[in-house]
């Protein structure tokens, strides 16, 4: 067995172990922060170094290829960025900080296993491990009521979604007698017209729709984003979404594009998700709730790319994962800096941000324009790729509805930008004192968002190769 190709996961596991021991040592949150940055930095380097690794582990239940490694790099970068904005971490009690880092790394480990899993049981175990770490992370919010009620909602909806998913996987296994994806991919196209196969696939996808916050499973998202600490919400909206996109791509690839039923099912969910997400976001006052509804809408856009089940569609979905990671993280970077005390933040509290901290206002504006899909940001490129992939497959109506939604979403993103740029700051609100290095981080992110938006070719080529490894 070649352990070198497993090194990003081993780095993550080692980090989790270090924090398990630190949680039993005397409390020192400065030490935890520095150790976390160092160790997750090492993990990012390990994943980037092993991006071209290939192989199979654990009796063929775990595949390492360019597809999984690209996603692992994104996941670890997401983890690293979330750790970087945890220097204050005022939303979580001091004595729980080591546990916070431990659960974050365990969750990332589980998500990495999720993108590499090619056996339905491995897939299920990885999904549960990541969900359970997130449930506890949501509960950790300081001030009992908020964290507990949103954590409870998260847990109950998650438990029912994973039960649905198990039922779907059982049907799938019953109908095909196969649990390995490489066998399933050969068997399924031949039996796709049997009801139990379609039903099994649809129900199995439900477990991932829950994590992705797609329409019938989206009810937890606004409450959890609002009730969880900012850093945890940032993690849920970036890293966990990225991993789910990977799994949905793998599951959709199983059908080989042979089922119109499944495509229709996904298309309906995509349309409802983006419409519900965008229309509800308009009415939101709390910035994190607004971001949650925008996540639901973006889940809809990604589904449009996934349901193409073509190399272009897969490429666009992977690129959109990177897009969501960068843009959502930038929004949460600003949330964390403006609400450094760890309290929730109303949109009105952004008033006059361009006076209080020009770089944060610029970052917020770029990220929101990106989410709305305005050129020259990465968000425009991502949406363009998804819509061209769908047009090539002839889903004109779907693209038209998505376009309408983009226009609706522009309205509420502009409301936030207006608050940051056009309103005067409230009395007594001085200059923002962000954490050290936040300005540099924000500048780097803005540069990355614009640079990849203008010149995506090198990254796109890597992603195209990754999408090829999927098939």
């Amino acid at each position: 067995m070649n352990w070198m190709i497993f090194s990003p996961e081993i780095c993550c596991l080692a980090t989790a172990l270090v924090f398990l021991f630190l949680s039993m040592a005397p409390v020192d949150s400065r030490r935890d922060y520095i150790v976390a940055i160092a160790l997750t930095g090492v993990a990012v380097c390990a994943s980037l170094a092993g991006i071209h690794a290939q192989g199979e582990l654990f009796h063929g239940t775990y595949r390492i290829d360019l597809f999984s490694q690209v996603f692992k790099s994104m996941l670890l970068m997401g983890l690293f960025l979330v750790v970087v904005i945890s220097s204050g971490l005022n939303g979580i009690e001091r004595r729980y900080h080591p546990e916070f880092y431990m659960l974050l790394t365990i969750c990332t480990l589980a998500l990495m296993m999720l993108v590499s899993a090619v056996h339905i049981l491995t897939l299920y175990v990885a999904l549960e491990l990541s969900s359970y770490s997130l449930y506890i992370l949501v509960f950790l919010r300081k001030g009992r009521d908020q964290g507990t009620s949103s954590g409870m909602k998260f847990f109950l909806i998650g438990a029912s979604a994973s039960a649905t998913m198990l039922f779907g996987l059982a049907l799938l296994y019953g109908a095909t007698n196969a649990a390995y994806f490489r066998v399933l991919i050969e068997v399924i196209p031949g039996v796709i017209h049997q009801p139990e196969v379609i039903l099994g696939l649809a129900l199995a996808l439900c477990g991932f729709f829950f994590k992705m916050a797609v329409f019938p499973f989206h009810f937890w998202a606004p409450d959890v984003y609002e009730g969880a600490a900012h850093q945890v919400a940032a993690y849920i909206s970036t890293a966990s979404k990225v991993a789910v996109i990977a799994v949905l791509l793998r599951m959709a690839a199983l059908t080989g594009g042979a089922s119109t039923h499944l495509v229709h099912f996904l298309a309906i969910l995509a349309i409802i998700s983006m419409t519900v997400g965008n229309l509800t976001a308009i009415a939101q006052k709390d910035l994190k709730r607004l971001l949650a509804f925008s996540s639901i809408a973006h889940a809809g856009y990604v589904l449009v790319g996934i349901l193409c089940i073509s190399p272009q569609g897969n490429t666009s979905a992977i690129f959109y994962a990177l897009t969501v990671l960068l843009l959502k993280f930038t929004c949460f970077l600003v949330v964390v800096q403006v609400a450094f005390d760890g309290e929730n933040i109303e949109i009105d509290r952004l008033a006059g941000l361009h006076r209080r901290s020009p770089i944060m206002a610029l970052a917020l504006m770029t990220a929101l324009f990106g989410l709305a899909g305005i050129p020259p940001t990465i968000g425009f490129t991502g949406k363009l790729l998804i819509f061209t992939a769908a047009m090539e497959k002839g889903y004109f109506a779907l693209v038209l509805i998505a376009m309408f939604n983009v226009v609706i979403s522009l309205y509420y993103y502009l409301l936030v930008v207006r608050a940051a740029y056009l309103l005067e700051p409230a009395e007594g609100e001085g200059a923002l004192a962000p954490m050290p290095g936040a300005g540099i981080l924000a500048g780097t992110l803005v540069a990355a968002i614009v640079a990849i938006g203008i010149y995506p070719t090198p990254i796109l080529e890597l992603i195209r190769a990754a999408a090829m490894a999927l098939g």
């Binding site: 949680s23 039993m24 109908a175 039996v191």
Partner: protein
Amino acid sequence: MEPILRSELLTPWEPGIFSLVLFAAVVLVLVGFLLFISAWLGEKSPNPDKLRPYESGIIPTGSARLRYPVPFFLVAIFFLIFDVEGAYIFSWAVACERIGWAGWMQMSFFIAVLLLGLVYIWQKGGLEWGPKKD
């Protein structure tokens, strides 16, 4: 690959779906009709004696919201966690010779993780019982 289940598990989409839809519609209409008719025709004369929780006539005492000591809950959870591990260890023990040293390594890893968990709850005071020592 032979499917385990033949297609008889679920009926094909059509025309089988029609009878299901018809049946569902009949069920919904019937249930709705029964609920409506009993609410419309039924005699309603509530009085305190009728509204008591126990129909036998026993008068309830005290509050329904009992405060239960948390240690019981903790012990139940810990028991659950460390009991489930038994299921894995027994099944490993049965196949111990056949899966060899690789299986032994995996089981050792599993047990090491569980022991770490035990150390953690011990250190955090999860096993303390009774009043807190200061």
